[in-house]
């Protein structure tokens, strides 16, 4: 029965190596490619993310359905909606200004980008800054709009899980449909050649 709850070195390294390998191959080491999502000219970020979300979510559901995965055994983020909103806005702003997010900056550095190293220094400073300023204000921000009834749409609003998955499937098709439409209208997606040459 899964999960194995293996939080050792080999488990971490294995998952990380595969994650980094896929991130770089998707083009997510390049700040040009990543930023193009917000300019709506290259939708790779949302296409890849939504596909991955649907594949993993359906996989988890199927594993539970056939009894291979224990119910309620997987970590679900707490439904602290204010924190998610404010934090999401700040990570989005940082992504737009710096061209990376914390994970993709590691892929950027290890495909040779020194600007990604500066971004990583910024992430460490931002984390330190948060710890320094951690007090009543940040605590109340993290506790605001907290849904006490549960963390998923199924727990809180009684939406059956297959219905949630079906909605995600529709959203995935919409991302590909509208994304590709925007890509055809724009200057074209960022190729590996262009990404390696760097921003111009």
């Amino acid at each position: 029965m899964f999960p194995l709850n293996d939080n050792g070195m080999l488990s971490g390294l294995l998952c990380g190596i595969l994650f980094g390998y896929v991130l770089e191959n998707a083009g997510f080491g390049s700040p040009v490619k990543l930023s193009a999502q917000f300019k709506l000219t290259d939708w790779a970020v949302f296409k890849v993310m939504f596909t991955a979300i649907v594949v993993a979510a359906v996989g988890l559901w199927l594993l539970r359905l056939v009894g291979l995965l224990r119910p309620d055994s997987i970590a679900v983020p707490q439904a602290a909606l204010m924190a998610a909103a404010v934090g999401g806005a700040l990570v989005g702003a940082g992504f737009a200004v710096g061209g990376y997010c914390p994970g993709t900056s590691v892929a950027g550095l290890f495909s040779g980008r020194l600007d990604a190293l500066v971004f990583i220094v910024g992430v460490l400073l931002g984390t330190t800054g948060f710890a320094v300023f951690y007090g009543a204000t940040l605590k109340s921000l993290k506790a605001a709009w907290l849904i006490a009834d549960g963390d998923t749409f199924t727990d809180v609003y009684a939406v059956p899980e297959p219905a949630v998955l079906a909605m995600l499937g529709v959203a995935l098709i919409a991302v590909f449909y509208f994304g590709s439409w925007f890509e055809r209208r724009g200057s074209g997606t960022v190729t590996a050649q262009q990404a390696v040459e760097g921003a111009r």
Partner: protein, 176 residues
Amino acid sequence: MNTSEKHGNPEIRPFWPPLAAGIALGLVLLLTFVLSAHGLGASGAATDTVAGVGLKLAPEATRANGYLGPMVADGSPIGSWMTWEILGVAIGALVAAFTAGRFRVQLDGARSVGTPRRLINTLVGGFLAGFGARIAGGCTSGLGLSGAAALGISAFVFLALFFATGMLVSRLVKGV
């Protein structure tokens, strides 16, 4: 295939198509859940690093800190699953970039916005992302990707605000 790839450096292999990359990422994420009971992440490794380095450099202040203190109660969090995972990300990205001819040492963005401006942008951007990830309790991978795969409500709130703010700010500031 577009013109620049046809006539460009043949050593540089194209990126995977988004659908293929997305399926691969989804399977890696599923494997991670099955092995560790949680998803992939990135900013958590930064937190563990800050807590671990803080414990070395300023043990008193780190133990007394309201946020980092509980994390170092049982010793340094360097060596946690998340720190091994991020080391793995570095190795995986390096192998991918090298084998596809896409490894090039550069300051990406130096040509488009200038070196000083690019350094400031990445430092400020990193700071905002690091601070924001601590408020949200995760970043694009830990909360946005993994949280959404676990069907967490907060993950979708995070993604909506991430996208809306990113689009807005990218219109006001030329990042790269």
